[in-house]
């Protein structure tokens, strides 16, 4: 019964066993913040394996679910220990007219397991919905994905509506998706072109530091 065992269970995606062990470790006096830090390192390792495709999407999703179980178990203890660091709040979705969401789902998982709070709006999301949800959620980021060239203009539409409402500077606007590029981000005035899922936490953190 150790942090190493907990890390192994999370890596193997054994959600229920991980939750039980996490609670036992807490009862045994383990520091919840240390446990969270260890789990963050574990997920970074899992993320590296996935980036190299030494494991595949179903496996990393299971690890993510196991981590969620552990974090949920730890949450009541974290406040008294000083609270878990929240790196940023993100509303995330696939733009209107686009039904492809695998990339968005991977980014969501990587962000969540790296300390971001993500509100997933799903796919085929109206541009105004991104903004209303960001306002309600108190988001730092509005992140939109587009897999089709003919749905990319919706990413521009989000920025145009933000400007029309006079709240452009309230959010960091992030774009991503296979046909998007730094050139497209520059053209429409996005704050960040997220070029891959693995580096998303680092990229988001850097952009927020510029705020």
């Amino acid at each position: 019964m150790s942090l190493e065992n907990l890390s192994k269970l999370v890596e193997e995606g054994e959600a229920q066993e991980a939750k039980v062990l996490a609670l036992k470790l807490l009862e045994g006096g383990s520091d919840p913040l240390e446990m969270i830090e260890a789990m963050t390192r574990t997920m970074a390792h899992v993320g590296d394996l996935f980036a190299k495709l030494e494991i595949f999407l179903p496996e990393i999703m299971l690890s993510g679910e196991a981590l969620t179980e552990v974090v949920d178990a730890l949450n009541p203890y974290l406040d008294s220990a000083g609270g878990r660091e929240i790196k940023g709040k993100v509303v995330l979705g696939v733009v209107k007219g686009d039904l492809h969401e695998i990339g968005k789902n991977i980014v969501k998982l990587i962000l969540e397991t790296s300390g971001f709070i993500v509100k997933d709006l799903g796919y085929n999301v109206d541009s105004l919905t991104f903004i209303k949800e960001a306002e309600t959620f108190g988001a730092d980021f509005i992140a939109s994905s587009s897999l089709m060239t003919t749905t990319m203009p919706r990413q521009l539409e989000i920025i145009e509506i933000l400007k029309a409402k006079g709240i452009r500077d309230n959010y960091k606007v992030v774009i991503g998706g296979a046909p998007t590029s730094q050139m497209w981000a520059d053209k429409i005035g996005a704050d960040l072109f997220c070029y891959d899922a693995k580096s998303a936490p680092e990229q988001f953190t850097a952009v927020l530091a510029d705020k």
Partner: protein, 460 residues
Amino acid sequence: MSTAYRHWEIIDRARTGKFMEEDDFLPRHFSPTLKKLIKKYDIKYDPKNPSPTDDAMADRIWQAAWELFREVGYYNTDSHRIIEVTDQEIKEALYMARDQYVMGGGKDATIMKHRSVEDPETPFCIMSPDITVDEKYHQSMCMAYLKEPLLDGICGPILEETFGHLIESGGPTEISGCIQHIQNQKMAARLLGRPDTFMVAVGTAEHDSGQIAVSNDDWGVQKTDARLVGSLTEFKTADTLLNRSLHYAQYGCYTGNLTGAIYGGWCGGSEGTAVTTVAYSLIGLVIHGAAFNQHFPFHLNYCSNTTRELLWAISMAGQALSRNSKLLYTSNGFANAGPMTEMLFRETAVHAMVSTVSGWHLWEMASARNKYRNRATPLEARLGCEVGHAVAQQKMTREQVNEISNKLLATYEDHAADAPMGSEYHECYDVAKALPTVEHMDMFCRVKDEIAQMGIEFPY
């Protein structure tokens, strides 16, 4: 006849099938079932052999694919219901499926027929850039592809703008762009003297309204042409997609089922990619009444399918389909490198030879990870199709293809992640004349000679 007459039963099931939350469908239903079947049928990836010769495994992949479709079904994201089919219905659809169709019209008509493994009959060659192109190059690029002698069918470049307006999916600009797309393509075919060439159109349509707007035997997509209906990754559909297959059937054109199982995604590794690809052919037949299937399995990180883990999956899927059905299916190449690079030519050659010997027809060639505007030309498609013709006509075996593929893979597979993006169309083609530049043609000839020296006997 196809199974299109079953559309209404399928549509009914899309409304009344078993309910499941979408978030549960892939992680708790599709992936575990696929994993179980891979184990049950002892399917194992062999990295040494991009063109494997294991007939028994091909047959087991077929069985696994059949069970995957029957056990998992096909999820409709609009109704949150699973469309399920029975063994009997799959059998009926396979019995009723035709093993050949006449594509295109008049003197330009060509026959696509079922191919066997190591078939001496040449593959049906559809050429396509599979990429978006500037409006000012669209007409020229259509002409350039239609000038290719081995082209049996064309799927033209995709427009992003129409008369200066950005095309937005589902909006009026898409309808206009789709009309512009098909008219450019038809005009190019007429000007070149092959007016009734088979076309798969129009790629500019992301939404069903764009497709429906161009169904017209006088000026648009004709009944002798084909249209594609896609899937959502993996095993998911939506009303906008079912609208398409119903419309295609009612209009009377050919339906092609467009799918790309993602290596590294929900179907896992090479084994799952092969099984899923085969299952998609059954889905195309039974759900959409497709006359042919258009498959482009690809790598999650690279968006390509010319590395060995994808080539193995393509080869095994082709062999499984060939040995166990009379279906028609095209293998769509996705390269890492961009135009006018030796790497792209080599990637295309390997994709074409592995696909051809494994029973596929060819659909060549998306380049530069199918990501960058204007980065595709007919010359890489020409090489792929010439390789395909050669492999068939000289009756190459899978072992022979395997040997040459491994030699060519050694020249590029370490560069999959940092492949050169090459040139844009206008940098390696004379846009006005729709012909390759001298430099581009020289590179084509150089790589072709290199491949010929490895044992490929080009027909000319």
